[in-house]
């Protein structure tokens, strides 16, 4: 078994795989540079989480921040493509907000869009941040409640 956080991250990566724009170019917690040919692509990050105990310390209530980053590189209309990527991700993420019962709920909490013109083509990054709530027993973080 693996931590529920990992299970949710993997479920999200599966949910956003096969979208029209980014296809199978989906990564989890990517740390190394992308090559130009890797784009458009998505990368899923689970970078932070808050937790508190409930039920006299037996249960952990957790709210995890999940970032789905979409990377686009093209000569023109980068904004349109980033909005298309965002739309496809939002639809995929809404199709099962519990990710197969691992989470109690998930919702989009914000979207950020950034551009870079340092290279030969414009690179755009759209970051969709989700809050995902899930429960585990305090002594069993690998099993969702």
């Amino acid at each position: 078994m693996s931590h529920v956080r990992q299970q949710i991250r993997e479920a999200i990566a599966t949910a956003v795989t096969g979208l029209t724009t980014t296809g199978s170019n989906v990564h989890q917690s990517r740390v190394w540079n992308f090559e130009a040919g890797d784009l458009p692509c998505l990368s899923v990050f689970t970078n932070s989480e808050t937790a508190e105990t409930v039920n006299l310390g037996e249960t952990m209530s957790r709210i995890m921040q999940v970032a789905v980053e979409g990377y686009v590189r093209q000569a023109a209309d980068t904004d349109d493509t980033m909005d298309t990527v965002a739309s496809e991700v939002e639809v995929a993420m809404a199709s099962d907000q519990t990710f197969g019962g691992l989470a109690r709920a998930s919702e989009l909490s914000g979207t950020e869009i950034a551009y870079s013109t340092e290279g030969e083509r414009v690179v755009g990054v759209v970051t969709l941040t989700y809050q995902v709530q899930y429960y585990t027993a305090s002594n069993a973080p690998d099993t969702a409640l």
């Binding site: 740390v31 540079n33 992308f34 980053e69 000569a75 290279g119 083509r121």
Partner: protein, 103 residues
Amino acid sequence: MALFTSDDLSEFFAVDTLGTAATYKEGGVGDGSSIQVIFKEDYVEISGGSVDIEGTHPVAVCRAEDVPNAAHDDTVTIDGTVYTVAGIQRSPVIGTVRLVLTT
């Protein structure tokens, strides 16, 4: 007044020294003009989100007299690749123009 004469710059930009043959088209249209440029395409890491993207930063330096009306969206063809001018840095003292290019 420029530091270098036209002949001085011509030596730098000659294809048998530092130069590369290029075709410059104002607005990207017409037959354009044949010029020599000093072309660089350095590796850059382009800032992304959590991850950077590998890329290049193409730049062409020209004699100012070869591109007197240089403007954004002009094109420069070098070794078969058509680049679009996205930035112009004039250097009147030296007598050159540095073109930032995109593909």
